[in-house]
Symmetry: C2
Protein backbone atom coordinates (compact mmCIF):
# COMPACT_ATOMS: atom_id res chain seq x y z
CA UNK A 1 0.00 0.00 0.00
CA UNK A 2 1.72 3.18 -1.16
CA UNK A 3 -1.22 5.38 -0.17
CA UNK A 4 -0.86 6.88 3.29
CA UNK A 5 -3.95 7.27 5.46
CA UNK A 6 -5.05 10.34 7.32
CA UNK A 7 -5.71 8.85 10.74
CA UNK A 8 -8.77 11.07 11.14
CA UNK A 9 -10.13 10.52 7.65
CA UNK A 10 -12.63 7.90 8.68
CA UNK A 11 -13.28 9.19 12.18
CA UNK A 12 -12.96 6.49 14.79
CA UNK A 13 -14.07 3.80 12.34
CA UNK A 14 -11.31 3.79 9.68
CA UNK A 15 -14.23 4.36 7.30
CA UNK A 16 -15.51 7.71 6.02
CA UNK A 17 -18.71 6.03 4.80
CA UNK A 18 -19.49 4.58 8.22
CA UNK A 19 -18.61 7.90 9.83
CA UNK A 20 -21.09 9.67 7.52
CA UNK A 21 -23.78 7.08 8.29
CA UNK A 22 -23.30 7.52 12.04
CA UNK A 23 -23.43 11.32 11.63
CA UNK A 24 -26.69 11.08 9.65
CA UNK A 25 -28.15 8.79 12.29
CA UNK A 26 -27.12 11.04 15.16
CA UNK A 27 -29.16 13.86 13.57
CA UNK A 28 -32.35 11.89 14.19
CA UNK A 29 -34.41 12.96 17.19
CA UNK A 30 -33.40 11.27 20.43
CA UNK A 31 -30.20 9.68 19.07
CA UNK A 32 -26.81 10.71 20.39
CA UNK A 33 -23.44 9.68 19.02
CA UNK A 34 -23.38 6.46 21.03
CA UNK A 35 -26.82 5.18 19.99
CA UNK A 36 -26.12 6.24 16.41
CA UNK A 37 -22.86 4.28 16.45
CA UNK A 38 -24.63 1.23 17.83
CA UNK A 39 -27.32 1.43 15.15
CA UNK A 40 -24.84 2.20 12.36
CA UNK A 41 -22.69 -0.82 13.20
CA UNK A 42 -25.82 -2.96 13.43
CA UNK A 43 -26.90 -1.80 9.96
CA UNK A 44 -23.44 -2.61 8.54
CA UNK A 45 -23.43 -5.99 10.23
CA UNK A 46 -27.02 -7.03 9.44
CA UNK A 47 -27.43 -6.32 5.75
CA UNK A 48 -31.00 -7.68 5.74
CA UNK A 49 -32.09 -5.27 8.50
CA UNK A 50 -30.54 -2.38 6.58
CA UNK A 51 -32.20 -3.41 3.32
CA UNK A 52 -35.62 -3.75 4.95
CA UNK A 53 -35.20 -0.33 6.55
CA UNK A 54 -34.11 1.27 3.27
CA UNK A 55 -37.09 -0.24 1.48
CA UNK A 56 -39.63 0.76 4.10
CA UNK A 57 -38.22 4.29 4.39
CA UNK A 58 -38.32 4.75 0.62
CA UNK A 59 -41.84 3.30 0.46
CA UNK A 60 -43.08 5.51 3.29
CA UNK A 61 -41.46 8.53 1.65
CA UNK A 62 -43.41 7.84 -1.52
CA UNK A 63 -46.75 6.75 -0.10
CA UNK A 64 -47.26 8.75 3.06
CA UNK A 65 -48.81 12.15 2.46
CA UNK A 66 -50.96 14.71 4.19
CA UNK A 67 -54.73 14.67 3.72
CA UNK A 68 -55.61 17.49 1.31
CA UNK A 69 -58.73 18.13 3.34
CA UNK A 70 -57.56 18.11 6.97
CA UNK A 71 -53.74 17.79 6.81
CA UNK A 72 -53.47 14.55 8.82
CA UNK A 73 -50.86 11.90 7.95
CA UNK A 74 -52.46 9.46 5.54
CA UNK A 75 -51.98 7.26 2.51
CA UNK A 76 -55.41 7.51 0.86
CA UNK A 77 -56.33 11.13 0.16
CA UNK A 78 -58.68 12.36 1.54
CA UNK A 79 -57.93 10.46 4.73
CA UNK A 80 -59.94 7.79 6.48
CA UNK A 81 -61.25 10.27 9.06
CA UNK A 82 -62.48 12.78 6.46
CA UNK A 83 -64.14 9.93 4.52
CA UNK A 84 -65.81 8.34 7.53
CA UNK A 85 -69.53 9.21 7.53
CA UNK A 86 -69.79 8.34 11.21
CA UNK A 87 -67.38 11.13 12.15
CA UNK A 88 -69.27 14.30 13.00
CA UNK A 89 -68.19 17.04 10.56
CA UNK A 90 -69.72 19.81 12.69
CA UNK A 91 -67.23 19.20 15.52
CA UNK A 92 -63.79 20.41 14.36
CA UNK A 93 -60.60 19.93 16.34
CA UNK A 94 -57.79 22.33 15.40
CA UNK A 95 -54.24 21.04 15.92
CA UNK A 96 -50.84 22.44 15.00
CA UNK A 97 -49.11 19.46 13.35
CA UNK A 98 -50.15 16.17 11.70
CA UNK A 99 -48.59 14.28 14.61
CA UNK A 100 -51.02 15.94 17.05
CA UNK A 101 -53.88 13.92 15.51
CA UNK A 102 -52.31 10.65 16.68
CA UNK A 103 -52.97 10.81 20.46
CA UNK A 104 -56.65 11.64 19.79
CA UNK A 105 -57.05 8.72 17.39
CA UNK A 106 -55.19 6.39 19.72
CA UNK A 107 -57.48 7.34 22.62
CA UNK A 108 -60.47 6.94 20.32
CA UNK A 109 -63.00 9.08 22.23
CA UNK A 110 -63.24 11.93 19.71
CA UNK A 111 -65.81 11.40 16.97
CA UNK A 112 -65.44 14.73 15.19
CA UNK A 113 -62.93 15.75 12.53
CA UNK A 114 -59.60 17.59 12.40
CA UNK A 115 -57.96 20.59 10.86
CA UNK A 116 -54.15 20.67 10.91
CA UNK A 117 -52.78 24.22 10.82
CA UNK A 118 -49.26 23.07 9.98
CA UNK A 119 -47.75 25.55 12.42
CA UNK A 120 -48.43 28.25 14.98
CA UNK A 121 -48.39 32.03 14.68
CA UNK A 122 -44.99 33.26 15.79
CA UNK A 123 -43.95 36.86 15.15
CA UNK A 124 -40.46 36.00 16.43
CA UNK A 125 -39.98 33.20 13.89
CA UNK A 126 -41.70 35.19 11.17
CA UNK A 127 -44.82 33.00 10.98
CA UNK A 128 -47.72 35.38 10.21
CA UNK A 129 -51.41 34.75 9.64
CA UNK A 130 -50.95 34.70 5.85
CA UNK A 131 -48.49 31.79 6.29
CA UNK A 132 -51.12 29.54 7.86
CA UNK A 133 -54.25 28.17 6.11
CA UNK A 134 -56.82 30.30 7.99
CA UNK A 135 -58.79 30.98 4.78
CA UNK A 136 -59.04 27.26 4.14
CA UNK A 137 -60.14 26.84 7.78
CA UNK A 138 -62.86 29.48 7.35
CA UNK A 139 -64.10 27.75 4.19
CA UNK A 140 -64.07 24.38 5.93
CA UNK A 141 -66.06 25.76 8.88
CA UNK A 142 -68.63 27.20 6.49
CA UNK A 143 -68.83 24.17 4.16
CA UNK A 144 -69.15 21.65 6.98
CA UNK A 145 -71.51 23.89 9.04
CA UNK A 146 -69.19 23.48 12.01
CA UNK A 147 -70.92 24.20 15.34
CA UNK A 148 -68.01 23.55 17.70
CA UNK A 149 -64.33 24.37 17.23
CA UNK A 150 -62.03 22.64 19.74
CA UNK A 151 -58.62 24.30 20.06
CA UNK A 152 -55.96 21.67 20.81
CA UNK A 153 -52.79 23.75 20.52
CA UNK A 154 -49.67 23.91 22.69
CA UNK A 155 -50.02 25.93 25.88
CA UNK A 156 -47.16 28.14 24.64
CA UNK A 157 -47.10 31.82 23.67
CA UNK A 158 -47.41 30.77 20.02
CA UNK A 159 -50.30 28.43 20.82
CA UNK A 160 -52.13 31.15 22.77
CA UNK A 161 -51.54 33.69 19.99
CA UNK A 162 -52.92 31.28 17.41
CA UNK A 163 -55.94 30.44 19.57
CA UNK A 164 -56.65 34.14 19.96
CA UNK A 165 -56.47 34.61 16.19
CA UNK A 166 -59.02 31.82 15.61
CA UNK A 167 -61.21 33.28 18.35
CA UNK A 168 -61.24 36.66 16.56
CA UNK A 169 -61.94 34.92 13.26
CA UNK A 170 -65.05 33.32 14.74
CA UNK A 171 -66.25 36.43 16.56
CA UNK A 172 -69.83 37.28 15.67
CA UNK A 173 -70.66 33.71 14.61
CA UNK A 174 -72.59 31.39 16.92
CA UNK A 175 -69.87 28.73 16.77
CA UNK A 176 -68.96 27.33 20.18
CA UNK A 177 -65.19 27.60 20.67
CA UNK A 178 -63.59 25.42 23.35
CA UNK A 179 -60.10 24.42 24.34
CA UNK A 180 -58.56 21.47 26.12
CA UNK A 181 -58.49 21.80 29.90
CA UNK A 182 -55.14 22.60 31.51
CA UNK A 183 -54.46 20.78 34.74
CA UNK A 184 -52.73 17.98 36.59
CA UNK A 185 -52.20 14.97 34.31
CA UNK A 186 -53.80 11.71 35.43
CA UNK A 187 -51.25 9.95 37.61
CA UNK A 188 -49.16 13.13 37.85
CA UNK A 189 -47.60 13.73 41.24
CA UNK A 190 -48.75 17.07 42.63
CA UNK A 191 -45.36 17.68 44.21
CA UNK A 192 -43.64 17.79 40.84
CA UNK A 193 -46.19 19.83 38.88
CA UNK A 194 -44.84 23.15 37.56
CA UNK A 195 -46.33 26.34 38.99
CA UNK A 196 -48.10 27.50 35.83
CA UNK A 197 -49.92 24.18 35.43
CA UNK A 198 -50.83 24.19 39.11
CA UNK A 199 -52.24 27.70 38.88
CA UNK A 200 -54.26 26.79 35.77
CA UNK A 201 -55.55 23.63 37.46
CA UNK A 202 -56.58 25.72 40.45
CA UNK A 203 -58.31 28.30 38.24
CA UNK A 204 -60.12 25.50 36.42
CA UNK A 205 -61.18 23.68 39.60
CA UNK A 206 -64.60 22.04 39.56
CA UNK A 207 -67.07 21.32 42.34
CA UNK A 208 -67.81 17.69 43.17
CA UNK B 1 -64.46 6.72 -1.73
CA UNK B 2 -66.01 3.34 -2.40
CA UNK B 3 -63.14 1.42 -0.76
CA UNK B 4 -63.73 0.73 2.90
CA UNK B 5 -60.80 0.86 5.28
CA UNK B 6 -59.80 -1.69 7.82
CA UNK B 7 -59.31 0.49 10.88
CA UNK B 8 -56.26 -1.51 11.91
CA UNK B 9 -54.76 -1.74 8.46
CA UNK B 10 -52.40 1.17 8.96
CA UNK B 11 -51.85 0.71 12.69
CA UNK B 12 -52.25 3.92 14.64
CA UNK B 13 -51.10 6.03 11.69
CA UNK B 14 -53.77 5.45 9.02
CA UNK B 15 -50.81 4.40 6.91
CA UNK B 16 -49.49 0.86 6.40
CA UNK B 17 -46.27 2.27 4.91
CA UNK B 18 -45.55 4.41 7.96
CA UNK B 19 -46.48 1.51 10.22
CA UNK B 20 -43.95 -0.70 8.38
CA UNK B 21 -41.27 2.00 8.64
CA UNK B 22 -41.84 2.36 12.39
CA UNK B 23 -41.71 -1.42 12.80
CA UNK B 24 -38.40 -1.61 10.88
CA UNK B 25 -36.99 1.19 13.00
CA UNK B 26 -38.08 -0.40 16.26
CA UNK B 27 -36.03 -3.48 15.36
CA UNK B 28 -32.84 -1.43 15.62
CA UNK B 29 -30.84 -1.82 18.83
CA UNK B 30 -31.94 0.52 21.61
CA UNK B 31 -35.08 1.78 19.88
CA UNK B 32 -38.51 1.05 21.32
CA UNK B 33 -41.85 1.74 19.68
CA UNK B 34 -41.94 5.32 20.96
CA UNK B 35 -38.48 6.36 19.75
CA UNK B 36 -39.10 4.55 16.46
CA UNK B 37 -42.37 6.48 15.99
CA UNK B 38 -40.63 9.76 16.72
CA UNK B 39 -37.88 9.00 14.22
CA UNK B 40 -40.31 7.63 11.61
CA UNK B 41 -42.46 10.78 11.73
CA UNK B 42 -39.32 12.91 11.57
CA UNK B 43 -38.17 11.03 8.46
CA UNK B 44 -41.59 11.50 6.81
CA UNK B 45 -41.62 15.16 7.73
CA UNK B 46 -38.02 16.02 6.82
CA UNK B 47 -37.52 14.51 3.38
CA UNK B 48 -33.96 15.87 3.14
CA UNK B 49 -32.94 14.12 6.38
CA UNK B 50 -34.45 10.88 5.10
CA UNK B 51 -32.72 11.19 1.72
CA UNK B 52 -29.34 11.87 3.32
CA UNK B 53 -29.80 8.88 5.61
CA UNK B 54 -30.83 6.61 2.75
CA UNK B 55 -27.81 7.70 0.71
CA UNK B 56 -25.32 7.30 3.55
CA UNK B 57 -26.75 3.92 4.56
CA UNK B 58 -26.58 2.65 0.97
CA UNK B 59 -23.04 4.04 0.59
CA UNK B 60 -21.88 2.49 3.86
CA UNK B 61 -23.49 -0.81 2.88
CA UNK B 62 -21.46 -0.82 -0.35
CA UNK B 63 -18.15 0.56 0.88
CA UNK B 64 -17.71 -0.72 4.41
CA UNK B 65 -16.20 -4.16 4.57
CA UNK B 66 -14.08 -6.29 6.87
CA UNK B 67 -10.31 -6.37 6.48
CA UNK B 68 -9.37 -9.62 4.75
CA UNK B 69 -6.31 -9.82 6.95
CA UNK B 70 -7.58 -9.02 10.47
CA UNK B 71 -11.40 -8.74 10.15
CA UNK B 72 -11.70 -5.15 11.42
CA UNK B 73 -14.26 -2.74 9.95
CA UNK B 74 -12.60 -0.88 7.11
CA UNK B 75 -12.97 0.63 3.66
CA UNK B 76 -9.51 0.02 2.18
CA UNK B 77 -8.58 -3.65 2.28
CA UNK B 78 -6.27 -4.55 3.97
CA UNK B 79 -7.11 -2.02 6.66
CA UNK B 80 -5.14 0.97 7.88
CA UNK B 81 -3.93 -0.93 10.95
CA UNK B 82 -2.63 -3.91 9.00
CA UNK B 83 -0.90 -1.54 6.54
CA UNK B 84 0.71 0.63 9.18
CA UNK B 85 4.41 -0.19 9.47
CA UNK B 86 4.58 1.44 12.86
CA UNK B 87 2.14 -1.09 14.34
CA UNK B 88 3.97 -3.98 15.89
CA UNK B 89 2.95 -7.19 14.06
CA UNK B 90 4.39 -9.44 16.76
CA UNK B 91 1.83 -8.25 19.32
CA UNK B 92 -1.56 -9.68 18.36
CA UNK B 93 -4.83 -8.80 20.10
CA UNK B 94 -7.60 -11.36 19.60
CA UNK B 95 -11.16 -10.00 19.75
CA UNK B 96 -14.55 -11.56 19.05
CA UNK B 97 -16.22 -9.00 16.75
CA UNK B 98 -15.09 -6.12 14.49
CA UNK B 99 -16.73 -3.67 16.90
CA UNK B 100 -14.38 -4.76 19.68
CA UNK B 101 -11.48 -3.13 17.83
CA UNK B 102 -13.06 0.33 18.23
CA UNK B 103 -12.49 0.97 21.96
CA UNK B 104 -8.82 0.02 21.59
CA UNK B 105 -8.33 2.35 18.63
CA UNK B 106 -10.22 5.13 20.36
CA UNK B 107 -8.05 4.84 23.45
CA UNK B 108 -4.99 4.71 21.21
CA UNK B 109 -2.54 3.05 23.60
CA UNK B 110 -2.25 -0.25 21.75
CA UNK B 111 0.39 -0.32 19.05
CA UNK B 112 0.08 -3.97 18.00
CA UNK B 113 -2.37 -5.52 15.56
CA UNK B 114 -5.69 -7.37 15.74
CA UNK B 115 -7.29 -10.62 14.81
CA UNK B 116 -11.10 -10.72 14.77
CA UNK B 117 -12.47 -14.20 15.39
CA UNK B 118 -15.98 -13.27 14.25
CA UNK B 119 -17.58 -15.13 17.12
CA UNK B 120 -16.98 -17.24 20.20
CA UNK B 121 -17.03 -20.99 20.70
CA UNK B 122 -20.45 -21.98 21.95
CA UNK B 123 -21.47 -25.64 22.07
CA UNK B 124 -24.99 -24.53 23.04
CA UNK B 125 -25.41 -22.33 19.95
CA UNK B 126 -23.62 -24.85 17.75
CA UNK B 127 -20.48 -22.77 17.20
CA UNK B 128 -17.57 -25.23 17.03
CA UNK B 129 -13.87 -24.75 16.46
CA UNK B 130 -14.22 -25.50 12.73
CA UNK B 131 -16.68 -22.56 12.46
CA UNK B 132 -14.08 -20.03 13.61
CA UNK B 133 -10.90 -19.06 11.70
CA UNK B 134 -8.40 -20.73 14.05
CA UNK B 135 -6.35 -22.07 11.14
CA UNK B 136 -6.07 -18.56 9.72
CA UNK B 137 -5.06 -17.38 13.21
CA UNK B 138 -2.34 -20.05 13.43
CA UNK B 139 -1.01 -19.03 10.01
CA UNK B 140 -1.07 -15.36 10.99
CA UNK B 141 0.83 -16.09 14.21
CA UNK B 142 3.45 -17.99 12.24
CA UNK B 143 3.74 -15.54 9.35
CA UNK B 144 4.00 -12.47 11.57
CA UNK B 145 6.26 -14.21 14.11
CA UNK B 146 3.90 -13.19 16.87
CA UNK B 147 5.48 -13.17 20.30
CA UNK B 148 2.52 -12.04 22.40
CA UNK B 149 -1.14 -12.94 22.01
CA UNK B 150 -3.50 -10.74 24.03
CA UNK B 151 -6.90 -12.30 24.60
CA UNK B 152 -9.59 -9.56 24.71
CA UNK B 153 -12.74 -11.66 24.77
CA UNK B 154 -15.93 -11.38 26.84
CA UNK B 155 -15.66 -12.67 30.39
CA UNK B 156 -18.50 -15.10 29.58
CA UNK B 157 -18.55 -18.91 29.40
CA UNK B 158 -18.14 -18.63 25.61
CA UNK B 159 -15.26 -16.18 26.01
CA UNK B 160 -13.51 -18.43 28.52
CA UNK B 161 -14.01 -21.50 26.33
CA UNK B 162 -12.55 -19.70 23.31
CA UNK B 163 -9.61 -18.39 25.35
CA UNK B 164 -8.92 -21.95 26.55
CA UNK B 165 -9.00 -23.19 22.96
CA UNK B 166 -6.43 -20.58 21.86
CA UNK B 167 -4.31 -21.43 24.91
CA UNK B 168 -4.24 -25.12 23.91
CA UNK B 169 -3.46 -24.10 20.32
CA UNK B 170 -0.37 -22.23 21.51
CA UNK B 171 0.76 -24.89 23.97
CA UNK B 172 4.36 -25.89 23.38
CA UNK B 173 5.23 -22.65 21.61
CA UNK B 174 7.10 -19.87 23.41
CA UNK B 175 4.40 -17.30 22.65
CA UNK B 176 3.40 -15.21 25.64
CA UNK B 177 -0.38 -15.37 26.09
CA UNK B 178 -2.02 -12.66 28.20
CA UNK B 179 -5.54 -11.50 28.86
CA UNK B 180 -7.14 -8.21 29.91
CA UNK B 181 -7.31 -7.72 33.65
CA UNK B 182 -10.69 -8.17 35.29
CA UNK B 183 -11.47 -5.65 38.03
CA UNK B 184 -13.27 -2.55 39.18
CA UNK B 185 -13.73 -0.11 36.26
CA UNK B 186 -12.16 3.33 36.72
CA UNK B 187 -14.79 5.51 38.37
CA UNK B 188 -16.89 2.45 39.23
CA UNK B 189 -18.55 2.56 42.63
CA UNK B 190 -17.43 -0.36 44.73
CA UNK B 191 -20.87 -0.65 46.31
CA UNK B 192 -22.49 -1.51 43.00
CA UNK B 193 -19.87 -3.92 41.64
CA UNK B 194 -21.15 -7.44 41.03
CA UNK B 195 -19.70 -10.21 43.17
CA UNK B 196 -17.84 -12.03 40.39
CA UNK B 197 -16.02 -8.86 39.33
CA UNK B 198 -15.22 -8.06 42.95
CA UNK B 199 -13.79 -11.52 43.53
CA UNK B 200 -11.69 -11.30 40.36
CA UNK B 201 -10.45 -7.83 41.34
CA UNK B 202 -9.49 -9.20 44.75
CA UNK B 203 -7.70 -12.18 43.23
CA UNK B 204 -5.86 -9.83 40.90
CA UNK B 205 -4.89 -7.35 43.60
CA UNK B 206 -1.49 -5.71 43.30
CA UNK B 207 0.88 -4.36 45.89
CA UNK B 208 1.58 -0.64 45.91
Amino acid sequence: MSRSFDPNEGGEFQSPALERLVRSLSRLPGLGRKSATRIGLHLIDQKSVAEELLLSAAEAGQKVTNCSNCGAITEPDPCRICCNDRRNPTQLCIVATPVDVLPFEKAGFFSGRYFVLGGLLSPLDGVRSEDLPFQKLARRIEDDRVTEVIIALDASVEGETTALYVQRMLEGSDINMTRLATGIPVGGALAYIDEVTLQRAFQGRRSF
